[in-house]
C-alpha cells in the first residue's frame, strides 16, 4: 500500500455496446491500465444514481458509466435516459465535495475496442491526477 497509490475505479457498462467493446479491446490485445473493475448491466438505463453514490460513499476514486452511442441503444433509448440522469449526478457530487471529473459517462460501441482502451486510460489518468477521493479520507 505504501509504495504507490492506485485509484479504485468502478465501471458500469452495458452488455451490448461498451462491454462488447471492452471485449473487443481484449481480442485485439489493446493494452490499458488495470485500475478499473467493471459491472455488467444490460443497459445503462439500469444504472441507478444510488449505485454511483454508493460507490463514492464506499471510497471509489472514480466511476465510469459507459453505454451505446445515442441512436444505437439496444433498447432504443435507455442510454439517453441514463445520460439525462447522469447529468444530474454531477451537481450532486459537487455538493458532496467530490470533483465532478471523478464521474464520467462515455459512449463506446461494440466495434470500438480501441476507444474503450483510450477511455479507460483517460479516466485512470484523470483520477490519478486528482488523487484519492476526498470522501475516502473523510471516512478514515
Amino acid at each position: 500500500m505504501t509504495d504507490e497509490w492506485k485509484p479504485k475505479i468502478l465501471g458500469i457498462i452495458c452488455n451490448w455496446c461498451s462491454y462488447a467493446g471492452a471485449d473487443l479491446a481484449g481480442s485485439a490485445r489493446t493494452q490499458y491500465p488495470p485500475d478499473i473493475r467493471t459491472i455488467r448491466v444490460m443497459c445503462t438505463g439500469r444504472v441507478d444514481t444510488l449505485f454511483i453514490m454508493k460507490a463514492f460513499a464506499n471510497g471509489a476514486d472514480g466511476v465510469l458509466v459507459s453505454g451505446c452511442h445515442f441512436g444505437d441503444c439496444h433498447y432504443l433509448e435507455g442510454n439517453f435516459k441514463a445520460a439525462k440522469r447522469m447529468f444530474l449526478i454531477k451537481s450532486v457530487l459537487k455538493n458532496m465535495g467530490i470533483e465532478d471529473k471523478r464521474f464520467r459517462m462515455t459512449f463506446v460501441s461494440a466495434s470500438e475496442g480501441a476507444k474503450w482502451a483510450k477511455v479507460v486510460e483517460d479516466v485512470v489518468k484523470t483520477v490519478t491526477e486528482l488523487g484519492p477521493s476526498p470522501l475516502k479520507e473523510f471516512r478514515q
Binding site: N15, C17, A22, D23, A25, G45, F51, D72, E77, A82
Partner: protein, 673 residues
C-alpha cells in the same frame, strides 16, 4: 416462487480457468485460487486448464451435487462467449442455470494487461469477489418460452436476399421478401459477367429471380420499405410501406373489380409518356420515362410511375386502356406482418469517387466508374454492349483500370477498408475489353492484387497471359488532354522506380463501396449495431458471422461488409439456416431478465410507465392502491425503469439492486470487513 435454496446460506463454487497461457500467462492462478478460498461463501475453489472443455464442465456438474452448491462462479473469458456453456453445465449438475456468474478475467483482464502481472492478478481478485458476491444473491429463474411465428422476412432482394428468401421458403417457411426498388436483383443484375467463371450475370441470376416470383412460400413485395419494427424474436410485428407505384398488378386490379386487367408489361404507356429522366439502373447513361421499368427482365414485370417527375398528363392511362392498370391517384399503403425472424440483405452502393478530386471523375468525360463500365459492356446495356468513349462515342483501344479508387485510404475522404471485389472485377474487365475490342490494351494500376478465392489466382494468371499490363503504383492523378480529351494517368511504377505518364482513351475507376444511405435507418429499426466503417455488425466475426446482437435478426451479403457473389450467397444460405432454426424449433426461450414490481414499495407515481421504451408497464389498482404492473411478454429487461424508480420498487431479475450493490461493496469494502 417457493425456493428452498433461498433460505439456505449461500455455498459458492469457484473455478479459475487458465485458458492455456491466455490467462495463466498474465495472472497468477495459484495466488488467485488461494485468495478465492478466503472469500465469504466460497466452499470450493478449483482451477483447470480449459474450463469450457468437457472435463472442465464435468467438474462443475459433479461439484454441485457433491458439495451442495447454491452458486457457481467461473473466472475465465467473457460471458458473451461462454456464459451459455456454463449455464448448461450448471443445469446438468442440477442447479438452476441462472445461479451461475462469470468473472471476465481474459478479454477484460489478462489480454489487456499482458505486461502487468500483479495489476492483472489484483484485478482478477476483485473480479472474483464481485462475482461471488453476486452469485451469493442469485435466484432461480425460469426462462419463458414463447412460440415462434412460422414466417420470416428478408429485407433487400439483391442476390443475397434472393438466396436467403429461396432457402427459407424452400424449408417450408412463409417468407416476405421486401425490396425498395421496383424490381429485385440488386447490383448483380447490373453486372455483365461474373468472375472467375465469366458466367453471364443475368443468365445465372434470372432463374433465381423467376423462382422468387413463383415460389408459393414467398410473398414478394417490391417498391416497399420497412416502416416500423416491434416485438422480439419469434414475434416481430413489422409495418411495411408499400409505396404508391401508380400501377396495379393483375391481382390488385381484380380486387378492384377490374377483371382481366392490371399491368401485363406491354409497355404501351411508356411509349406515350412525355417525361424523360435518366435511368438509375443504367447509371444514368440511358433515359427512362416517368412510367418505367429498369430493364426488360424485371421481376415482377410491372411498370412503376415515378411521381416525382410525372406531370399527370394522363396519356399513359389512355394508352393502357381496358387493362385499367394505371392509377395516378394511388397512395402509399401500410401493412403489418408478423414474422418470427428476419434477414437483412440491404447491400451497398459505390463511394462517390468524385470526392477524390485528383482523378477527375465527373470533370473528365472519359473517366468512368466500374459500374458504368459494366453497363457499357453489357449487351442489354445502354449501348447494346458497345464500349464507347463518352466524349466522342469512339471505340477506346487503351483503357486504364484504377484499382483501390477510394479504398484503403486513410485520408478521411476515402474508405480505410479494402473493398474486396474490385481487384477481381477489374481483372474481369480487362478480359472483357480484350475479348470485345480486338487490338485493345488494358492497363491495371494496382497496389496489390487480392485474388484470394477459389480459382481467383488462376484467373489472375489467365488475365496476365491475355496481355493485360499491370503497373504497380497507385494513381497519383489523372490529367485530361484539353484537346483530345484523352486522360493521362500519372503514377510511379514502383517496381521500376520510375514515374509513368500513360495516355489512354478511357479510364475506369474501381470505386470503393460503402453502405447505402438507408442502411443506418434500417439498422435502427431492427436494433442492429454498425462496425466502425458503417457496415452492419455481426454477432461475432468468426463464430457468428450471420447473427446480430438482436436475437432473431440475421445478416447476409455486402451490407455486413464487402464480399463478392460467392461469399454473399454462402452467407445468405448461412443466414437463412440460422433464421430458420427458431422457426423450426417452434419456440424460443427469452432471457428471464424481466422487471417485477415490489408492490409494498411502489408509490404508484407512474414515472416508470413513461420510461419504458416498450410500453410494458401500466398502473393498476390492487387492494385499493395504485401500483405498477409489468407485462412480461413486452418487457425486454433493459432495466431503465429499475434504474429510475425513486422508491426502489422495481426488482430487475438477475440485475437486482441488492445484487449490484453487493458487487460494488465487494469491490470497495471487500477487504475491510
Amino acid at each position: 416462487m417457493v425456493d428452498e435454496t433461498k433460505s439456505q446460506k449461500p455455498r459458492v463454487g469457484v473455478y479459475i480457468c487458465h485458458c492455456g497461457t491466455n490467462i495463466a500467462g498474465s495472472i497468477d492462478i495459484k495466488e488467485l485460487q488461494d485468495f478465492a478460498q478466503t472469500i465469504p461463501n466460497v466452499v470450493l475453489a478449483d482451477e483447470y486448464q480449459y474450463m469450457c472443455s468437457t472435463p472442465g464442465q464435468k467438474k462443475i456438474e459433479d461439484a454441485i451435487k457433491e458439495h451442495g452448491l447454491t452458486g457457481i462462479v467461473v473466472a475465465a473469458c467473457s460471458p458473451r462467449l461462454h456464459e451459455p456453456t456454463f449455464r448448461t453445465a450448471s443445469k446438468e449438475g442440477g442447479l438452476n442455470p441462472f445461479r451461475f456468474e462469470m468473472a471476465n478475467i481474459r478479454e477484460q483482464n489478462s489480454w489487456v494487461h499482458m505486461h502487468d502481472r500483479q495489476g492483472a492478478t489484483d484485478k482478477a481478485k476483485d473480479a472474483l469477489k464481485m462475482a461471488v458476491a453476486k452469485a451469493s444473491l442469485l435466484e432461480d429463474l425460469f426462462p419463458k418460452s414463447v412460440p415462434v411465428e412460422h414466417s420470416a422476412m428478408v429485407v433487400g432482394a439483391g442476390v443475397g436476399g434472393i438466396q436467403a428468401a429461396l432457402d427459407l421458403a424452400s424449408s417450408g417457411i412463409k417468407t416476405y421478401l421486401i425490396e425498395k426498388a421496383p424490381t429485385i436483383g440488386g447490383r448483380m443484375s447490373q453486372l455483365d459477367k461474373t468472375f472467375p467463371t465469366l458466367d453471364c450475370s443475368q443468365c445465372i441470376l434470372t432463374p433465381k429471380m423467376v423462382d422468387v416470383g413463383r415460389h408459393p412460400n414467398i410473398e414478394l413485395m417490391t417498391y416497399t420499405e420497412v416502416e416500423k419494427v416491434e416485438g422480439y424474436i419469434g414475434n416481430f410485428d413489422i409495418t411495411l410501406r408499400k409505396k404508391a407505384r401508380g400501377v396495379l398488378t393483375p391481382t390488385e386490379a381484380e380486387t378492384r373489380g377490374i377483371v382481366g386487367g392490371g399491368c401485363n408489361g406491354c409497355g404501351d404507356c411508356e411509349q406515350v409518356c412525355p417525361v424523360i429522366k435518366p435511368n438509375p439502373f443504367e447509371m444514368g447513361m440511358a433515359p427512362r420515362k416517368a412510367i418505367y421499368i429498369y430493364h426488360p427482365q424485371v421481376v415482377p414485370l410491372i411498370y412503376t410511375v415515378d411521381f416525382d417527375s410525372c406531370v399527370k398528363c394522363g396519356l399513359c392511362v389512355e394508352a393502357c386502356g381496358e387493362k385499367k392498370a394505371i392509377d395516378l391517384e394511388q397512395e402509399d399503403e401500410f401493412v403489418t406482418v408478423k414474422v418470427g425472424t428476419a434477414v437483412l440483405a440491404v447491400g451497398y452502393e459505390l463511394f462517390p469517387v468524385e470526392k477524390k478530386t485528383e482523378w477527375g471523375y465527373k470533370r473528365y468525360d472519359n473517366v468512368i466508374t466500374s459500374l458504368e463500365f459494366e453497363r457499357l459492356i453489357c449487351a442489354s446495356g445502354p449501348t447494346g454492349g458497345k464500349v464507347i468513349r463518352p466524349s466522342d462515342g469512339e471505340t477506346p483501344k487503351k483503357i486504364g483500370f484504377v484499382l483501390c479508387a477510394g479504398s484503403r485510404d486513410n485520408t478521411g475522404i476515402g474508405k480505410p477498408y479494402c473493398s474486396r471485389f474490385c481487384c477481381m472485377y477489374s481483372l474481369k474487365h480487362a478480359h472483357q475489353l480484350h475479348e470485345k475490342i480486338p487490338g485493345s490494351q488494358s492497363y491495371l494500376f494496382y497496389m496489390d492484387i487480392r485474388s484470394f478465392g477459389k480459382m481467383y489466382e488462376e484467373f489472375y494468371y489467365r488475365i496476365q497471359d491475355e496481355g493485360a499490363k499491370f503497373i504497380r503504383g497507385r494513381v497519383a492523378k489523372i490529367e485530361e488532354d484539353p484537346i483530345t480529351k484523352n486522360p493521362h494517368v500519372l503514377t510511379e511504377d514502383t517496381l521500376l522506380g520510375q514515374p509513368v505518364d500513360i495516355e489512354l482513351d478511357m479510364v475506369v475507376l474501381a470505386s470503393a463501396v460503402q453502405p447505402t444511405e438507408e442502411t443506418n435507418h434500417v439498422r435502427h429499426l431492427f436494433g442492429v449495431s454498425q462496425s466502425m466503417d458503417g457496415w452492419l455488425l455481426e454477432a461475432h466475426p468468426k463464430l457468428n458471422p450471420c447473427g446480430t446482437t438482436t436475437a432473431g435478426v440475421f445478416l447476409a451479403g455486402v451490407c455486413q461488409g464487402p464480399k463478392d457473389i460467392p461469399d454473399t450467397v454462402a452467407q445468405a444460405e448461412g443466414a437463412a439456416a440460422a433464421a430458420s432454426i427458431p422457426i423450426h424449433v417452434g419456440e424460443v426461450e427469452l432471457e428471464p431478465y424481466f422487471a417485477m414490481c415490489i408492490e409494498e414499495k411502489c408509490a404508484g407515481c407512474g414515472m416508470c410507465v413513461n420510461l419504458c421504451p416498450y410500453s410494458a408497464l401500466d398502473l393498476v389498482e390492487k387492494n385499493g392502491r395504485t401500483v405498477m404492473q409489468v407485462t412480461e411478454a413486452k418487457c425486454k429487461g433493459c432495466g431503465t425503469c429499475g434504474g429510475f424508480c425513486p422508491g426502489g420498487a422495481i426488482w430487475m431479475q438477475h440485475f437486482a439492486t441488492p445484487q449490484i450493490v453487493a458487487q460494488i461493496d465487494a469491490f470497495l469494502l471487500g477487504g475491510e470487513q
